[in-house]
Structures are given as structure tokens and as C-alpha cells.
């Protein structure tokens, strides 16, 4: 881990070389944040930096990609193979002063070919080969050139196999090319274009389990596809001047469930692959995952100490965030350990014995994920409706969820009962609805415990508040943090009008779709899209990082996906997240942060 960080720093400490007509911003030009200027073309030295960024970012993600590898042979080496292939490509150009991007691309292709390792490495080398051929002898490449090169890369890779299997790196490469073609008309800025391409690639990777059954069975995305995504994402991060030593997406990758024994795949090289008959008397124990957020975290030491507690250990991260995954007989041990190092996030504990039993019964339902109450003295109560939203809150470590919302407000007594039932003396209530705040305050007064109400008025506010909870801080500080976090969020709600009315100058007919931003009516119309665009206009997307959509119980997942595609088309730079909220009444809840 140390080595990677050094490499990353070194990468960003390059001062601009005076003799290069480089259009890729380097550290000296401070391309950070929104003040950066457009990148219209990349020359040979620019491509070289992009390759170096990919190599470094792949090295970070190597273990996570390995852990996804189940197809075609589950030997867990995809990340390593892609890394070694890129290393060979980099070695070919590391000392090259070449300015011509076509020449550099050919060297990359040559290096990748010579060092191609494994299936994914061979495919990667074919991608680079097509990429280089398309660039030919060009001095620089533009967005249009990139789109062509990605298309040629995909075509070349597809030619290397008799029957291409979908749901693999090939599919992801093709989708990346498609995205590039879509964006090429709209914007000449490579950063903007790549942002869109990377976003689409991410979605393509997420779809791989639905295309290739063996992935769905194992509960993973395609490893090679994820590797290609990492390569493209590294380039985007470099163009944006972002660090490549952070690990948020790595955490995402690792969150995909580890391979669970599937019977017909009898592997013996790790416990997770152990044949069924090998289950020992101690049973399967618990699968524990969490993120430690703190300062000066020593990843190597945490890895050693966690490793001593159980098996199938995976500990990744940096000095501020560390993702832990381990199989242990007693889940309390690693959780207490983690809580001693910093504040815990996203605690998930799964009973592997229960998973195993379910498997034996032949059920295909997903593993039960039961939240574990962190061993802390502050717990939270949240009012939420909908299974999906309940799961979101549980995954964030909420102490107790009370069903409720727009039309079914929980009583003071219900809130009070929840507060009393939790094993903590300090509690925080998140009402998540203006109509619940009063009851929550009454419950707080009636309880003998120390109870604080953070008056969240919407579900997105509640989620933001919960994310800000710091188990190491005291109740008053947390109240402040959580209020501030809730205030940061802009919330949107899309629902159906239950009566005809004129409000804020907008005429509404019963049955219309209406859109509210921060509880104020913004638009009404016959369809969701009629209200969505004016809402997004009010929400100031350009200044915000991520737009999250929670779709409700009446909305088809396909319709929700289509809507995100539309949003991505209109706002190519926007990071989007779609979550099945399953909430009643509201077709969509939106949050921007």
C-alpha cells in the first residue's frame, strides 16, 4: 500500500515540462475542481500520463478485481493479469519523450501484446491494438478521435474469439465505445466526454450479472469489465486532477458479495470455495464488513490484526478510510476492534450458517443481511416507509426503523417505545417528515433517556444526517453535525396530486404528477419527465457532486433505469445513483449532495 501511495503522489507532482505543447493539465496548472479549463486534445506525453494513472489505479484495485474473478475459470487472477499487462505497456513508454500520440499508442499496444497475461490480458492487449491502429500517426487525439479509437478497440477485441460471450470485458468495451460515440457530438472537452463514458461503463459493468448467469450465481460483476472500468476511471481522475490514492470505488467493488460455494464449482484454494462437505463443526460463522473512518489509520497493521481474528480477510483503504471484510465465529470481535480505531460506517453482518442452510434448502433468495448495532452508546431511530429505504437505513447502521411517512405518521407512543427498546442511553430520532417532527419531540421529552431530535423533513435529509453520525463524538456534537449535513442536501419529491388546487402560482389537477424541491412545489404535469426537468433546473446540479434517485413501489425498475439514462443524456457530467426505495406514494425521491 505504501508503494502505491508514493507512486500516486509522484504521478501528481510532475511539474509541466517546458517543451511540451501538452494539452492535458498537469499538477502545475492546478486542474482541480470546477475552475479547470477544457481539455480539447491529448498528445503523446498526455497519453503517457493517462497510462501511468491507469497503471497506478489498477494496482490499487488489483485485489478487489481478483476477488471478482469467476469466469471463465475462477482462478482469481484477473486483476493481477491486467495489471501485469498494463505494466508491460507502461515499461514500453516510460522513458519515451515522444510527442506524437499515435506513436505512443502503438508502443502501448506493443508493450501490452508482449506482456499480455491471461485471458483478460490478451483481450486488453487487443483493445490497445485497435486503439493504436485507429489513431494511426495522429499528433494528438480529440473527443472524436477517442470515440473512433474506442470503437476500433472494441471491434478488434471482438474479432479475437469465435463466439463472444456477453457480460464480459468485451461487452463493457463495446458499451464504452457506444457511450463515446454518443457524447462526441455534444462536447469537445475530453474531461466531460470521459466523464460520460466512465459513467456509462460503470453501468455496463453493473449489468454484467444479468448477461452472464455464472456471475449472478456468484453475486459478482465481471472482473475483466471492472478492470476496464478502473482503467478508464483512472484517466478521468487524472484529467480532473483528482487523487488516485482514494478508494471509494474499491469499497464498492469489494461490497459485491464474495463468492459463495455453488456446489458445481468445487474449488479448494480458499475457504470461500470449499466444497460443501468440508464445512467443519464450527459452522460457517459470520461474514462481517465495515468501513473504518479515522485518521492516520495503518492499513497494514489493521490487516494483520483482523487476519488473526478469522479468515477470508480483505482489508483495503488508505490512512482515512479502511474497508474491512472478514469471516469470524464472533462478529463482535472485529466490530469492537474497528470501533476502537475510528468511527464505523456501513456495518454489515451476515450469518453464513443461515446462508448455507438456505442454500441447502435450494432457495435462491439473496443472503440475509442483518444490521448489527454498533457497540456504541448513541443509537438512532428513523421513520421510513418502504422496504428499499429501510434497507438503506439499516445498511447505514440505524438502530431501529419505524414504518411511517406521508399518510401514516407513527404515534408518539410508537416512537417512545422504539427509543426505550434500544440498548442505549443516548438516542437520536430522525423523523424524515415534517408531520412526524412534533411526535418525535414529544417522545424525546417523555423519555427518561437523553434523546435528541434532528428535525429531518425528507428521507434524503435523514440519510445525509445518518451518514454524518460519528460514534466517537458526544450527543450535542452529533446533533450539530447531523443538522448541518441535513441542511446540505437538496431534496426532491415526485408524487401524484390527490386533489385539485392552485399552489405557489401553479395550477394542479387531481391526478397530476407534481414535483417538489425542498418541499416547495416546482412543477406539475402529466408525466414524471414533465416535472423532473424543471426540478433538476432548480436543484443546481452543476454545483453538486451526486444525484441519487430512489424509485417507489409503483415504479418499474426498467422505467427508473430509462429515466436515469435520460438524465445522463441531459447532464453528461452528472454522477447518478439509482436505488430501489420501494416507498409508497412517491414515485421518486431525489437528493443532490
Amino acid at each position: 500500500m505504501k508503494e502505491e501511495q508514493l507512486l500516486a503522489e509522484e504521478l501528481f507532482d510532475h511539474s509541466p515540462q517546458p517543451d511540451q505543447p501538452l494539452t492535458v493539465p498537469t499538477r502545475g496548472e492546478k486542474p482541480v475542481g470546477r475552475s479547470r479549463s477544457a481539455v480539447l486534445a491529448v498528445d503523446g506525453q498526455g497519453l503517457k500520463r493517462l497510462i501511468e494513472a491507469s497503471l497506478s489505479w489498477l494496482r490499487h484495485h488489483q485485489a478487489a478485481i481478483n476477488s471478482l474473478n469467476v469466469f471463465p475459470v475462477p482462478d482469481g487472477d484477473t486483476g493481477t493479469n491486467m495489471l501485469l499487462t498494463m505494466q508491460s505497456a507502461w515499461d514500453e513508454i516510460a522513458d519515451s519523450p515522444e510527442q506524437n500520440v499515435g506513436v505512443v499508442a502503438h508502443s502501448v499496444a506493443h508493450g501490452a501484446l508482449m506482456g499480455a497475461r491471461g485471458n483478460s490480458g490478451v483481450i486488453l492487449s487487443q483493445l490497445w491494438r485497435g486503439f493504436a491502429r485507429s489513431l494511426g500517426n495522429k499528433q494528438t487525439f480529440t473527443v472524436a478521435d477517442l470515440a473512433q479509437a474506442l470503437q476500433e478497440a472494441s471491434d478488434t477485441a471482438y474479432r479475437g474469439v469465435i463466439k463472444p460471450v456477453e457480460g464480459t470485458i468485451l461487452t463493457v468495451a463495446r458499451e464504452a465505445a457506444l457511450a463515446a460515440d454518443q457524447v462526441t457530438q455534444q462536447n469537445g472537452d475530453l474531461t466531460v466526454a470521459l466523464d460520460y463514458i466512465v459513467g456509462q461503463t460503470k453501468q455496463a459493468v453493473a449489468r454484467t450479472p444479468s448477461q452472464l448467469p455464472v456471475l449472478a450465481e456468484a453475486g459478482v460483476v465481471d472482473a475483466g469489465g471492472q478492470g476496464l472500468y478502473v482503467i478508464l476511471e483512472a484517466m478521468l481522475r487524472y484529467l480532473r486532477g483528482e487523487s488516485i490514492s482514494k478508494n471509494e470505488d474499491l469499497e464498492m467493488a469489494v461490497d459485491l458479495k464474495p463468492v459463495f460455494p455453488t456446489g458445481h464449482m468445487e474449488q479448494t484454494h480458499s475457504d470461500a470455495f470449499a466444497p460443501i462437505s468440508a464445512a467443519d463443526d464450527a459452522g460457517y460463522g459470520y461474514d462481517v464488513q465495515f468501513i473504518i473512518v479515522g485518521q492516520h489509520l495503518d492499513v497494514e497493521r489493521i490487516r494483520q490484526e483482523i487476519d488473526a481474528m478469522g479468515d477470508s480477510t480483505m482489508v483495503v483503504g488508505d490512512t482515512e478510510r479502511v474497508k474491512v471484510h472478514v469471516h469470524v465465529p464472533d462478529p463482535g470481535v472485529p466490530i469492537s476492534y474497528g470501533a476502537g480505531r475510528g468511527s464505523l460506517r456501513d456495518v454489515v453482518v451476515e450469518d453464513m450458517q443461515a446462508q448455507y442452510n438456505e442454500y441447502i434448502l435450494g432457495r435462491s433468495s439473496p443472503p440475509i443481511s442483518s444490521p448489527v448495532l454498533p457497540d456504541q452508546d448513541i443509537l438512532t431511530v428513523a421513520v421510513v416507509s418502504g422496504d428499499g429505504l429501510t434497507r438503506v437505513f439499516e445498511s447505514l447502521g440505524v438502530g431501529k426503523v419505524i414504518a411511517g411517512g406521508q399518510t401514516m405518521n407513527p404515534s408518539t407512543q410508537e416512537l417512545l417505545d422504539a427509543v426505550e427498546s434500544l440498548p442505549a442511553e443516548k438516542l437520536i430520532i430522525l423523523p424524515n417528515n415534517p408531520n412526524v417532527i412534533m411526535a418525535a419531540r414529544q417522545a424525546a421529552e417523555l423519555s427518561k433517556k437523553q434523546v435528541v431530535v434532528v428535525p429531518t423533513r425528507t428521507v434524503p435529509q435523514g440519510i445525509a444526517a445518518l451518514l454524518a453520525l460519528n460514534y466517537q463524538a458526544d450527543l450535542a456534537d452529533n446533533e450539530r453535525f447531523m443538522n448541518a449535513a441535513a441542511d446540505e442536501v437538496e431534496s426532491g419529491e415526485i408524487t401524484t396530486a390527490t386533489r385539485s388546487v392552485e399552489l405557489d402560482g401553479i395550477r394542479i389537477t387531481q391526478g397530476d404528477i407534481i414535483g417538489l424541491v425542498n418541499e416547495r412545489l416546482v412543477a406539475s404535469g402529466p408525466t414524471v419527465e414533465h416535472v423532473l426537468w424543471p426540478m433538476l433546473g432548480k436543484m443546481d446540479l452543476a454545483e453538486r457532486e451526486i444525484l441519487t434517485l430512489y424509485f417507489g413501489d409503483g415504479v418499474e425498475p426498467e422505467a427508473a433505469e430509462l429515466l436515469t439514462v435520460r438524465i445522463a443524456e441531459r447532464f453528461p457530467g452528472q454522477e447518478l445513483e439509482l436505488i430501489d426505495g420501494g416507498q409508497p406514494h412517491y414515485h421518486y425521491l431525489l437528493s443532490v449532495e
Binding site: V73, R117, V122, R129, T156, G160, V161
Partner: protein, 118 residues
């Protein structure tokens, strides 16, 4: 024949069955663009029955399964990596599908196909 004992009796897997799986595995390996006839006479003999065991030879020597596959590989790929992938995939697929342990997979690269002359 490859035999294995179970509590109830024995299971026999014919070389043809192994060859069928091996041929499919080789053909689906990335970088393989064709399965080659072992020789011309063989190709003539099989011309009216292009079966699924095309380009594969299975031998059982002292109870050890040895598989030879004859392939055409895409020009411009790293042949040694493609060959290694073939070995891995053939071994994995045969062992998984038939429960027969594979001792050796030999890859014969009979030719290269040039799709992209660069």
C-alpha cells in the same frame, strides 16, 4: 475409458465425451479463432460428420487423461498466453462437467489467422 468408483458403482466417461467438452472449451477461449483438423486425412474422413469433437484428441494413459487440442489463433495476440488460457479452460471445463481429472492439455497451434494486418 476413464473410470471412477463411487459407493454405488463406477462411472465411465468415454474419450468422445471428454473430447466434446474439450473442443467446446478450446473454441470458446479468447484468441482462438478456429479449431484445426489434425491432418488432412482426418479432415477428409470427417468431412461428412463435422462433429463436436473436432480438433481434439483424447488419450487415457495409465488412467491419466491427456488431451491434445489443435487450434488456429488470431494473429497479433500473445500466443503463449492464449495457449495457457486454452489449457486452463479445457482442464477446468472437463473436470467440472465430467468429474474426470485431466493430467495434461497439449495445445498445438496449427495456424494463425490475420484479421488485422498490423
Amino acid at each position: 475409458m476413464s473410470k471412477s468408483e463411487t459407493g454405488l458403482g463406477w462411472i465411465e466417461v468415454s474419450p468422445d465425451a471428454i473430447a466434446t467438452i474439450a473442443s467446446q472449451a478450446a473454441a470458446s477461449t479468447y484468441g482462438v479463432v478456429g479449431i484445426a483438423p489434425k491432418n488432412l486425412a482426418n479432415e477428409v474422413a470427417h468431412i461428412f460428420q463435422r462433429d463436436a469433437r473436432h480438433g481434439v484428441e483424447v488419450r487415457v494413459q495409465d488412467g491419466r487423461v491427456v488431451i491434445d487440442v489443435y487450434v488456429i489463433v488470431e494473429y497479433g495476440t500473445r500466443i503463449v498466453s492464449v495457449a495457457t488460457s486454452i489449457m486452463d479452460l479445457v482442464k477446468f471445463d472437463v473436470e467440472r462437467a465430467l468429474g474426470v481429472e485431466v493430467a495434461q492439455v497439449n495445445v498445438h497451434v496449427e495456424g494463425l489467422r490475420i484479421s488485422d494486418p498490423d
